[in-house]
């Protein structure tokens, strides 16, 4: 049973660039959530997708956007990168968006120079 997968593992970008991160949910899951984890901190919720729509959004600017595909996989896009966007980006999947356990992928380490 495949778990949550994310790509790429690591990414280095420069300020002002745009980045796309990808996530495939655990088999059987239909909801994908994205989190940003800065060094030494707990994960912060970015947004959640269910049925190809953004259902919830955390306190992140609209430079952060996403998409969910019919096969439930998801992308996180960040435009106009800032140095402060450097973090581990975690994807989590669950069976539905109603208070279910979320299972996390290994994350994508984004470094903005």
């Amino acid at each position: 049973d495949a778990g949550v997968t994310q790509s790429p593992t690591h990414l280095i970008k420069t300020r002002g660039q745009q980045v796309t991160l990808r996530c495939s949910p655990k088999s059987g899951h239909d909801t994908v959530s994205w989190y940003q984890q800065a060094l030494g901190q707990g994960p912060q919720f970015i947004f959640q997708y269910y049925e190809e729509e953004e259902r919830q959004r955390g306190n992140f600017p609209d430079r952060f956007s996403g998409h969910q595909f019919p096969n439930y996989s998801s992308e996180l896009n960040v435009n106009a990168l800032l140095l402060g966007d450097s973090a581990l980006y975690l994807c989590a999947s669950s069976l539905n968006y109603l208070r279910d356990t979320q299972y996390f992928g290994p994350g994508t380490r984004l470094t903005v120079l």
Binding site: G42, F45, A92, T101, Q102, F104
Partner: protein, 112 residues
């Protein structure tokens, strides 16, 4: 607003001794509480959750957690610590928006 506190940045325990990692929460209504563990350069691994029922919840790798409504706590425990338990531990609560609110994390070091 829902919030989670983990009052200890670091917990040190000798191998074989019992361990406790503390968590307190603030929510409106009935809490859904979780513990996750994170190893270096890895994602979060689910350990256990409390939704309803018995206050003592058993999870993966011999961990358990005790829900205490009056003290609004959900402390993680293990009777006998292993060196391999050394990691970063996160407590989380689901808020009204159905999303996870994580605590700041507690680093557990088990000394041989």
């Amino acid at each position: 607003a829902q919030s989670v506190a983990q009052p200890e940045d670091q917990v040190n325990v000798a191998e074989g001794n019992p361990l406790t990692v503390k968590c307190t929460y603030s929510v409106s209504g009935n809490p859904y509480l979780f513990w996750y563990v994170q190893y270096p350069n890895r994602g979060l691994q689910f350990l256990l959750k409390y939704i309803t029922g018995d206050n003592l919840v058993k999870g993966s790798y011999g961990f358990e957690a005790e829900f205490n409504k009056s003290q609004t706590s959900f402390h993680l425990k293990k009777p006998s610590a292993l060196v391999s338990d050394s990691a970063l531990y996160f407590c989380a609560v689901i808020d009204y928006g159905q999303n996870f609110v994580f605590g700041p994390g507690t680093r557990l070091s088990v000394l041989p």
